[in-house]
């Protein structure tokens, strides 16, 4: 069967000493930044992108992927031990995880989180393997109109799933599209919005934007509220869950995996939405719902499975269609482009070693995380103790040198600073940065597809609704928008975000 051949190829690729090494580094780094508050996978991957020039393509992607799903593991460690979520997706884990720690069950909570995450990672890997090729096959028959509609759907979804005001998020998407157009227009050769600056002729680098808005912006935001961290680290006694614990874990892990996998594919969220949704659902459905918030093991198992599943399934649109579903995936697209690989449905067929190597390495990475993390907890706890006032200047240094090294240009450093200001201001105004970054990557692509679609249809804009797939995609986008604008749904959304 084809799947077996492909998986074998994947193992052959992933099990080379070099790739195992990079996978290990990736998940280790990922856990580390997951543990450290204030440093997230987006900023880290952005910082490491310049380095991936030097690495072979498969190795660099394996490492970067490891950073992303590894960070989900790391985030839960601090949530449970210190009531501080290292990652946005781990916020929910603090609710019951820290309570469990206070009851002396920190070890069990950590083990539950690791087990749930491993199971979810395995399932998600399988999902990618099973659904990737068929999806790519469908997408190979896409014309420019379908791609345009798909990207529109992606952007609409990122608006719908954004926190804060929908209107603001909409504006951010348009702004991102505009910023993506800065530079030389490929078709006509005209320089747009460059104000005669030669450094802008190739456009604004997305690493620059990502580091500025997510890295710098986040740091300034954190400086607003330098909370005194109560580092009351709970003692870890036993790691093994009791039989009762095992029984209670199973259903939430299954449900969390399902929810997380489904929501991870949707553009805009990645792992965060899945974790929140899984917790809410678990709370409604569980027999022990009264214990939620007081140390219910389900409250750890469900979101932790969900966020891992989500982190991995968010690779599906990127690997099969070339469309990033969240900022981290957008950076991965960038990483592929740096390596000279054009992301899209043909990647699976033209570069099978790449696709299957990454898929298999995800599972191996999960294995590494399961085995390595529990012994290394002492190390992570010590990392948490690093004061933020020492951490963020270090982050700034890496950002500055990293961005400079992209083109050996201090202009990029200035630009990053500018986006830092923008990122901070926008966050104060309630404008989400994630939709903007997504739109920034997609902007030039969307214009290209729009152009081609119009050319092929001889100027007829109705082509987008006349072609069935395109019409369906746009229809879903419209549905999503209206659903979210309806008052009742809007309230649900707000409540979900508040929780």
């Amino acid at each position: 069967m084809d799947l077996i051949n492909n998986i074998t190829l994947g193992f052959q690729t992933a099990l080379t000493l070099a790739n195992l090494f990079y996978c290990l580094i990736g998940v280790f780094l990922g856990t580390l930044i997951g543990v450290l508050p204030g440093l997230g996978p987006t900023a880290t991957i952005a910082m490491l992108l310049p380095l991936t020039f030097a690495l072979p393509p498969i190795s660099s992607l394996i490492m970067l992927a490891g950073i992303y799903y590894g960070s989900q593991y790391g985030g839960s460690t601090t949530s449970i031990l210190v009531n501080l979520p290292g990652e946005a997706a781990s916020v929910v884990t603090t609710l019951d995880g820290y309570q469990m720690a206070k009851q002396g069950r920190a070890g069990v909570a950590l083990a539950t989180s690791a087990i749930g995450s491993f199971f979810a990672g395995t399932v998600a890997t399988f999902l990618i393997a099973a659904f990737g090729p068929p999806l790519a096959a469908i997408a190979l028959r896409f014309g420019p109109a379908e791609y345009f509609s798909l990207m529109t759907l992606g952007l609409v979804a990122s608006i719908v799933l954004a926190q804060g005001s929908l209107l603001h998020a909409f504006g951010m998407v348009v702004l991102g599209l505009l910023l993506g157009l800065v530079g030389t227009d490929v078709t006509s050769g005209v320089q747009r919005f460059t104000f005669d600056t030669p450094e802008l002729a190739d456009g604004i680098g997305f690493v620059t934007v990502a580091m500025g808005m997510f890295g710098l912006g986040e740091i300034i935001r954190n400086l607003e509220t330098e909370a005194q961290r109560s580092v009351v680290v709970a003692k870890i006694t036993t790691l093994m869950p009791t039989r009762e614990d095992w029984k209670r874990m199973i259903a939430p892990i299954l449900r969390g995996t399902a929810v997380g996998s489904a929501l991870g594919i949707l553009p805009g969220s990645g792992s965060i939405l899945g974790a929140f949704a899984a917790y809410s659902i678990e709370k409604k459905v569980s027999r022990n719902r009264a214990q939620f918030g007081k140390g219910a093991i389900e409250g750890v198992a469900a979101p932790e499975s969900a966020n891992n599943a989500g982190a991995q399934t968010s690779f599906i649109p990127m690997l099969t269609l070339g469309i990033p579903s969240n900022p981290v995936m957008a950076l991965m697209v960038g990483a592929m482009i740096i390596q000279g690989i054009q992301p899209g449905p043909s990647v699976i067929t033209e570069q099978p070693a790449l696709f299957w190597g990454i898929v298999v390495s995800m599972w191996i990475g999960n294995l590494f995380l399961l085995i390595l993390n529990l012994p290394l907890i002492g190390l992570w706890v010590r990392m948490i103790m690093i004061p933020y006032r020492l951490l963020y200047p270090a982050i700034l240094v890496f950002c500055a040198i990293g961005v400079f090294s992209l083109r050996n240009s201090e202009f990029d450093v200035y630009l990053m600073a500018l986006f830092g200001i923008l990122g901070y201001v926008f966050s104060k105004l309630g404008c989400e940065a994630a939709p903007m970054l997504l739109a920034f990557i997609l902007g030039p692509l969307m214009e290209e597809f729009l152009r081609r679609a119009m050319l092929l249809s001889r100027g007829d804009p109705l082509v987008f609704v006349q072609r069935p797939i395109s019409a369906t995609l746009l229809g879903i986008a419209v549905l999503a928008m209206t659903a979210v604008l309806l008052p009742s749904f809007g309230k649900t959304r707000e409540v979900a975000f508040k929780e």
């Binding site: 380095l51 030097a54 005001s165 209107l167 603001h168 909409f170 504006g171 348009v174 702004l175 599209l177 505009l178 157009l181 227009d185 078709t187 006509s188 005209v190 747009r192 919005f193 710098l216 740091i219 300034i220 935001r221 400086l223 607003e224 330098e226 004061p387 933020y388 006032r389 020492l390 963020y392 200047p393 270090a394 700034l396 240094v397 950002c399 500055a400 040198i401 400079f404 090294s405 050996n408 201090e410 450093v413 200035y414 990053m416 600073a417 830092g420 200001i421 901070y424 104060k428 105004l429 309630g430 404008c431 969307m446 214009e447 152009r451 119009m454 050319l455 001889r458 100027g459 804009p461």
Partner: protein, 151 residues
């Protein structure tokens, strides 16, 4: 009068940027629907952005919103200017000067700043980066720049 400052300023910024985009793009050539010129997409986007901004502006007078909250001015100024400074002097003065300055100036933004650990951090980071980035990865940054007689 303004019931949502967030909406007001967001709207103002959006209108401003949208308008600028449309005005600047005028020179690029619109082309036609069949052969879209370089100005086509930007103009559409600019108009949409202006509309979104206008809606936000109008809404800011009608619906109350959460207040913006205090700005971390000190943090903003110190962090951003430290980065700018780094970019400005790193090639001329060298990494050995620029990096410690970046660390110290940005660290000053913290309410829990203390000189000794910060200087230690600056020293450690400089050594680390000199080895990893310049010696290891070959980033073309001088350790000591022309201003101080270096290469």
């Amino acid at each position: 009068m303004i019931r949502s400052t967030r909406d007001f300023w967001t709207g103002a910024i959006y209108v401003l940027i949208g308008l600028s985009a449309v005005l600047i793009a005028r020179d690029y050539g619109m082309g036609s629907a069949v052969r879209m010129g370089p100005a086509y997409f930007p103009t559409i986007l600019g108009i949409i952005l202006m509309v979104v901004g206008a809606v936000a502006l109008i809404r800011s007078f009608i619906l109350p919103g959460t207040p913006i909250g205090a700005f971390a001015i000190k943090g903003l100024l110190l962090v951003i200017s430290s980065i700018f400074l780094f970019g400005f002097i790193v090639r001329e003065a060298g990494l050995l000067i620029a990096l410690p300055l970046l660390v110290i100036i940005s660290a000053l933004a913290s309410s829990q700043f203390r000189w000794v650990p910060t200087i230690a951090l600056a020293a450690g980071l400089t050594v680390f980066c000199a080895f990893v980035f310049i010696k290891g990865l070959g980033v073309p940054l001088p350790l000591i720049g022309p201003w101080l007689g270096g290469g």
